[in-house]
């Protein structure tokens, strides 16, 4: 077995011999296991080991990046990264200063060493529950876990060994009847704690039933509605619609976007507070240091309706004259770190769910996550469950709805915030080619006026 600690010590010496404005390297050793089911049968089970590293060099504002899993000839790799950076660099290097750190961070959980038999036993139980439901056509279950050990070192003297674990479980049930197909899903995860996913029997049962019930549910008529989002979907909304806009690599070199995202600008009502924080203990997006060796922080993005902060790498922070926030992350050693979210949420307010729906004459209650994507000002996200709200009460179930809108008007249209914050640990975030990154998002129930709902 390859010892990345020994290689890390070598590499820390090698980078001293090369001249660049800044050089850093990461080495990674990871284990990953996965089990998938399709229908009643187990479909695949596998284990993967990965070992590899990268060197990133900065010369006059230009970056060179070399990734590899052949760990021989390290000096040549450092040399290539520096050479590439020289080819690119044409201006001045700017990196926000951070104190060099020497530290070791271990994790309490390593799900990859748990026996395959134990993991399969739990998934078998869930699959049996799904298949107890009549009218089910098929189902999928996809479980994966990972544990990795990453060494980060830099020419400024940082040397950080950090472990991280992750678990992701997605279940999906498909019902069919009269030439129609409907589905319902459940997506959960944890920062490596297997217990967090081992008592979902009741939720799995509800999910399978929901798929069947959707076969007889009507489709909403497309148009504008007052929409109430549950904590899961509101979490997706805050991630998609606002979180991505707060990633300053989109903003820092775009003068017009900088004007739109100017600090102090009003985006929502006075009760609206949005936070990104990798410092919440035990969530999927939590860590002590990001992939540039910057300590994690709690960052208010919106406070009392006003834009007060954004997410940074060392470079974007320096170029915008702001403080680094520790949000530079890479999915693995094959990619350079880019600005990403961690755990993003809307802070709770005071309203109960009943208060929120009480004065809605005709509206839509959208629950649960199915997917979401964004193009800066425009976003769409889809609910896994939906119900009509009529005269202040929940009414008939609907086919899943797709919600769409413009972030600037939609945030302003949030007119009620619940008291029931919940964090959703399912799914993962994609940006560019780096998918999926473990994150979490959350919110209390929220109400949005005049939201566009797609339908027939």
């Amino acid at each position: 077995m390859t010892d990345i600690e020994a290689i890390g010590r070598q590499l820390a010496e090698i980078i001293k011999r090369y001249s660049a404005d800044y050089i850093e390297a990461r080495l990674e050793h990871s284990q990953r296991g996965y089990i998938t089911y399709r229908g009643k049968e187990l479909e695949s089970i596998g284990q993967a080991t990965a070992i590899g590293g990268n060197v990133r060099a900065l010369v006059r504002g230009g970056w060179g990046f070399v990734s590899f899993n052949n760990l021989d000839g390290l000096p040549g790799k450092v040399e290539l990264a520096v050479k590439q950076a020289r080819l690119v660099g044409r201006e001045e290097t700017k990196l926000a200063p951070v104190e060099p750190v020497v530290d070791t961070v271990s994790t309490a959980h390593n799900p990859t060493i748990k026996s395959l038999a134990e993991k399969k036993q739990l998934l078998d139980e869930y699959n049996e529950i799904i298949w107890r439901t009549p009218k089910l056509q098929t189902s999928t279950i996809s479980y994966s876990d990972s544990h990795k050990r990453v060494i980060f070192l830099s020419s400024a003297g940082s040397y950080i060994v950090q472990e991280r674990s992750d678990i992701n479980l997605r279940l999906n049930a498909v019902a069919a009847g009269d030439g129609e197909v409907q589905q319902a899903g459940l997506s959960v995860g944890s920062a490596g704690d297997f217990k967090a996913i081992s008592a979902l029997h009741h939720q799995v049962e509800q999910m399978a039933r929901r798929a069947v019930e959707l076969l007889s549910a009507p489709q909403v008529k497309g148009g504008e509605y007052t929409v109430v989002l549950d904590p899961v979907l509101a979490g997706v909304f805050v991630h998609e619609a606002f979180g991505h806009l707060s990633e300053s690599d989109f903003v820092y070199e775009n003068e017009r976007l900088r004007q739109i995202m100017v600090l102090g600008k009003k985006f929502g009502g006075e009760r609206l507070n949005i936070v990104d924080s990798a410092t919440v203990p035990g969530l999927r997006g939590s860590y002590k240091y990001d992939d540039e060796g910057v300590p994690a922080a709690k960052t208010y993005l919106i406070r009392e309706g006003k834009l007060v902060g954004r997410l940074h790498s060392r470079e974007t922070a320096a170029r915008m004259g702001e403080k680094p926030t520790g949000n530079a992350r890479a999915i693995n050693y094959r990619y350079p770190p880019i600005v990403r979210m961690t755990n993003t949420y809307i802070e709770p307010g005071e309203a109960s769910f009943d208060d929120i729906i009480a004065d809605i004459k005709e509206g839509v209650y959208a629950r649960n996550w199915f997917g979401g994507t964004t193009a800066m000002e425009m976003f769409t996200f889809s609910a896994g469950e939906a119900y009509m709200i009529r005269n202040g009460k929940l009414a008939e179930a609907l086919r899943p709805v797709v919600l769409s809108g413009n972030v600037f008007t939609t945030l302003n249209n949030i007119d009620a915030i619940g008291n029931d914050l919940e964090m959703n640990q399912g799914g993962g975030c994609g940006k560019g080619e780096q998918v999926p990154l473990p994150v979490s998002n959350g919110s209390p129930h929220i109400r949005i006026k005049k939201c566009l709902v797609g339908g027939r």
Binding site: S44, I51, E377
Partner: protein
């Protein structure tokens, strides 16, 4: 590889070793200028075994620890799926050119120059646009061998060029973009620039659209964002096998408009998704999927084909795991109507170039519903401007049952779909 195969053979009845190495060089531009050059070396080995009739699987990038790779595969085989297939024996493969030495030898300086020229063409047209661009070359070596004597190997080169631009005026944002890829080097930025400039031209004015049923022309990029995700699901042999494909029991039956022909083709020379063999050693073939509106075939890998009592179509693809059926290069046959004739035929309607989030709905059932990220209004046979805050919904089994026309000029989208525009007589449009 031989060594891993020998070790695995001692532990299992059958084994297959699959090894991929790649050297990728992406040159990235951000905010209209060169930002980053990368060099990525990657080698991984995957081992599939059959032990006591069950499939075991493991992969690693640590070539120094092959005993662990074998042990991992053996451990998973206790719980693995029953193997219904046999690994292929020695086969002869079609001659399909996917490696061009000229791609390998393109110097980085040339790649930088190509990206700079592309950005210059686009910014000359619209000076305040902010572009990200990427020029990449990728050299891939692939080799597989199994205990039945089957063996396949090939080298592939891929060169790609892409640009993504954003134009912000006030809080109004416009996104445009195009990409192109080939096994041969791309030497001119002209074609990518032309698509982007056309998008900018059409988006110059704004237009509004009512909420109602309207005729819609899907451009090749629109076809890929609205229709292709559902088609890929519907023709996947695995989904057919489990009874979840709406067309699974309709083989030979007319389900789509008779103008529609669709096939999967990994045999075209110098296309990035072409290959002489699939990832299980099955020779590549062209597979008809829709012939004159009738369902002609589904696509399969070895295991799924065995379960369905049919033969693999050479669509076994690995994406970091066990092989699974996936299309390689989907092609929709061109029709007779030009894009301008389609536009000319519409009194009030839409052209959709990019639908955002269309794949989020019930794509298994054929539904698509998305925000029009880039689309244009047609009034009295002319494109009058860009539409915003608009959603379009439909179901492919209704939409493709009766299409008004299929375009005469196909284009490659994202390197894996070759399609002309499709003219749909009516789709549901919601707007604010």
């Amino acid at each position: 590889m031989e060594d891993i195969l020998a070790q695995a053979r001692r532990a299992a009845e059958a084994a297959e070793v699959f090894m991929v190495s790649s050297e990728e060089t992406p040159v990235q531009f951000e905010a209209n200028r060169l930002k980053r050059i990368q060099g990525k070396q990657n080698t991984s080995v995957a081992l599939r075994i059959i032990k006591q009739g069950r499939v075991g699987y493991a992969s690693t990038t640590d070539l120094s620890d092959t005993p662990r790779l074998v042990a991992n595969a053996v451990e998973t085989a206790q719980f693995g799926v029953q193997a219904r297939f046999e690994l292929p024996t020695k086969a002869s493969y079609p001659q399909i050119d996917v490696f061009d030495p000229a791609t390998e030898s393109v110097p980085i300086e040339k790649m930088i120059e190509l990206g700079e020229k592309l950005i210059a063409l686009v910014t000359r047209h619209t000076p305040d646009i902010i572009c990200e661009a990427m020029v990449t070359k990728d050299i891939i070596s692939l080799r597989l061998m199994n205990s039945g004597g089957g063996e396949a190997s090939y080298r592939k080169s891929i060169f790609s060029l892409s640009l993504w631009g954003s134009l912000i005026r006030g809080t109004d944002m416009l996104f445009v973009g195009e990409s192109q890829s080939s096994c041969n080097p791309i030497t001119t930025p002209r074609e990518v620039a032309e698509v982007v400039i056309q998008q900018l031209e059409l988006a110059r004015n704004r237009a509004t659209v009512p909420s109602k049923q309207l005729p819609v022309i899907l451009t090749p990029r629109g076809v890929v964002s609205a229709i292709i995700p559902s088609l890929i699901m519907a023709f996947n042999g695995k989904i057919v096998l489990e009874g979840a494909s709406p067309i699974g029991n309709k083989l030979g039956q007319p389900v789509f408009d008779q103008k529609l022909w669709l096939w999967d083709d990994p045999t075209l020379a110098y296309r990035p998704n072409s290959r002489p063999s699939d990832d299980e050693g099955i020779p590549s073939q062209r597979t008809p999927l829709i012939e004159g509106g009738k369902v002609a075939n589904f696509f399969y890998d070895l295991q799924t084909a065995a379960l369905a009592h049919t033969r693999s179509t050479g669509n076994g693809n690995r994406n970091g795991g066990l092989p699974t059926p996936s299309p390689t290069a989907l092609t929709i046959a061109p029709g007779k109507t030009s894009f301008d004739e389609m536009v000319g035929d519409i009194k009030e309607g839409l052209v959709i170039e990019q639908l955002m989030g269309a794949e989020q709905g019930n794509i298994l059932g054929g539904d698509f519903s998305g925000n029009v990220l880039l689309g244009f209004k047609i009034e009295n046979g002319k494109i009058v401007g860009r539409v915003k805050d608009t959603m379009v919904s439909g179901n492919i089994y209704q939409v493709l049952k009766e299409v008004a026309a299929i375009g005469s000029k196909p284009e490659w989208v994202g390197g894996f779909v070759h399609t002309p525009p499709i003219y749909c007589p009516r789709l549901s449009v919601a707007s604010k």
